[in-house]
């Protein structure tokens, strides 16, 4: 029997149960730990191939009902999503307030992103796209500050516009092809017409909103920066895998079609602009969480560029970078969460934390080197692959921009490291640091994530070997003249 839908159903059911346990903190904690373990097992219980809800399957040559498609690439993505979600849930166990609401929303988010990665049906994809938008705002609201509410409102206003346009795009595609199933739809969009162009255009708007590409990068940054550190870690993970899921659908539907070239260029431009805008804005920040949030946008740009190249190597590099990015960026956000327990996140008020917590500083430094693309960390491997993919299609300019952005990343990361850990501070501040504790569960999660950064940096094939077969199926080889 195929238990694939349990990846979505289990967290949704647990989210409802958790919601009913309001006020029973001890039960919530034990249950959260149990769920965190089960989440990691879930991606291994499904079978590869198509899964049709309700068992309708293919009727008279048409796919009927909701369909999911599972393969090794999607399995790797879900395993990484489950690891991050589990670590964030475990870290959240250390928080006292609103714990079950956090678990409820995190599980709904996990289920939604998993469904978006698995979906072979555009409308099902859209439904979970909406759910994840609301979940993200819900998680932001948990920080309970006025700024968080304002940011959430802005995110929802922009989301109203983007999601409505995306739904209209799906309607255009349905009107042109008569189906919502992605595998079916592919057979009916071989030749262009204005409706299909319109649908494609509006899907790109949804993609930019869901993954925080320009012009939606500022609302997304606000979302990450105003949340608690460990919540930002899961929020940026959701966004990255929404980007991967969305791009896989766009590539599956359109990659290789002659009329796709215009959109192809738009997607590349969005990726490059996100890379540059993210890093330039990060260089300007004096708030640590805002700095990290802008870097999340910049790294999403790398992922989008790799996937938008549309070649097998580009797709593998893009997805591998998404996986690496969620690992080291979650580590960095957890590091920021630990630092915020000492003295907030204003870089100019921090300093001298190295002797107070040397092991945390070392792990954060590893994550900072990983995001800057320094060997032997995982970021180096995926950025190297991305540069190779750009060179393979004869676009050295994109490879050069990637390297420039990496330099900017290194500069801002080292600036932050100096200001937080190395800058000399007075005795009074040291005493203030010593009087405040460190969240131990966050340090545990940080250790696991840093270890993954090193392991994937030395043995990247642990992940990449699972990515090539589907990337070869979706990718198209070409070379710019």
């Amino acid at each position: 029997m195929n238990y694939l839908p349990m990846i979505i159903i289990f967290p949704l059911i647990m989210a409802i149960i958790m919601n009913l346990l309001h006020g029973k903190e001890n039960i919530v904690k034990y249950l959260t730990f149990l769920i965190a373990i089960i989440l990691i097992i879930l991606p291994f219980i499904g079978q590869y191939g198509y899964y049709y809800f309700g068992g309708f399957g293919v009727i008279d040559g048409w796919v009927s009902g909701i369909a999911y498609y599972y393969n090794p690439l999607k399995q790797v993505v879900l395993v990484v999503l489950a690891i991050i979600a589990s670590l964030v849930l475990i870290t959240g166990m250390g928080e006292k307030l609103k714990n079950n609401m956090f678990v409820t929303l995190s599980l709904m988010g996990f289920a939604s992103v998993a469904a978006m990665v698995l979906a072979d049906d555009l409308f099902n994809f859209y439904v979970f796209f909406e759910i994840i938008s609301i979940v993200q705002v819900g998680l932001l609201f948990l920080s309970g500050t006025e700024e968080a509410y304002k940011s959430g409102l802005r995110y929802m206003i922009m989301g109203n516009i983007a999601a409505s346009l995306m739904l209209l795009g799906i309607a255009f595609l349905l009107a042109s092809t008569g189906t919502l199933n992605i595998t079916d739809m592919k057979n009916y969009i071989l030749s262009d017409n204005p409706m299909i162009f319109g649908g494609l255009l509006l899907l790109v708007v949804g993609l930019a909103y869901g993954s925080g590409l320009p012009p939606f990068h500022n609302v997304k940054v606000d979302l990450y920066a105003r949340s608690k550190g460990f919540i930002s870690a899961i929020l940026q993970t959701y966004s990255k895998f929404i980007l991967v899921g969305f791009m896989l659908i766009i590539l599956k539907l359109f990659n290789g079609l002659s009329y796709f070239s215009g959109t192809h260029a738009v997607l590349l431009a969005l990726g490059v602009l996100a890379m540059v805008f993210g890093v330039v804005m990060a260089l300007l920040q004096s708030d640590y969480k805002k700095l990290l949030s802008y870097h999340a946008i910049s790294q999403a740009g790398y992922v989008a560029t790799g996937l938008a190249l549309g070649t097998p190597l580009g797709i593998v590099a893009g997805i591998f970078h998404a996986i690496n990015h969620v690992i080291y960026k979650s580590a960095l956000f957890l590091g920021a969460y630990i630092v915020s327990h000492k003295k907030g996140s204003d870089l100019h008020k921090l300093g001298g934390l190295l002797p107070i917590m040397p092991s945390v500083a070392f792990m954060v430094l590893c994550a900072k080197l990983a995001i800057s693309g320094v060997p032997p960390f995982n970021g180096f491997q995926s950025k190297w692959m991305l540069a190779q993919a750009a060179m393979q299609v004869n676009m050295p300019e994109i490879a050069i921009i990637m390297i420039i952005v990496s330099i900017g990343t290194f500069v801002s990361m080292m600036k932050a490291f100096y200001l937080i850990y190395l800058k000399p501070v007075d005795e009074e501040t040291i005493k203030e640091y010593q009087s405040r504790g460190v969240p131990k569960l966050a340090v545990f999660s940080l250790f696991i994530l840093t270890s993954l950064c090193i392991i994937l940096g030395i043995y990247p094939e642990i992940v990449t070997k699972y990515l090539f077969s589907y990337a070869n199926e979706l990718g198209v080889s070409y070379c710019l003249k």
Binding site: L200, L201, A265, V280, I398, I400
Partner: protein, 106 residues
């Protein structure tokens, strides 16, 4: 575009220390490099020298109004009116690219 000008601007937010000014300088140059390499790749993709010249003219214009980075920061504001303005520009730009352009990409 000199160091003192940057420091003066950053001092308004009490962030005029050396490491921050250096980081902002790096951001300024990253923007210029984007214009240079962006205009080259646009010219190559569209196969038209005019597009590259247009890109380089943008670079020249941005140099004439330097420092660019503080204007860039203002445009990246969280204010909803700025957000909606850039959203409308975005919709227009991608509509233009998808509908109006026809080039050999693959």
């Amino acid at each position: 575009m000199d160091y003192d000008k940057f420091q003066k601007e950053l001092n308004k937010d009490s962030h005029g220390d050396g490491i921050t000014v250096g980081a902002v300088f790096a951001g300024e140059y990253t923007l210029y490099l984007l214009f240079i390499f962006g205009s080259i790749i646009i010219g190559r993709i569209y196969g038209k020298t005019l597009m590259t010249l247009f890109g380089l003219a943008t670079l020249a214009f941005s140099l004439s109004v330097s420092p660019l980075i503080f204007k860039f920061k203002k445009e990246n504001s969280n204010a909803i009116n700025y957000q909606l303005f850039w959203l409308s520009i975005f919709l227009g730009a991608i509509a233009f690219c998808i509908y109006m352009t026809n080039f050999e990409f693959m």
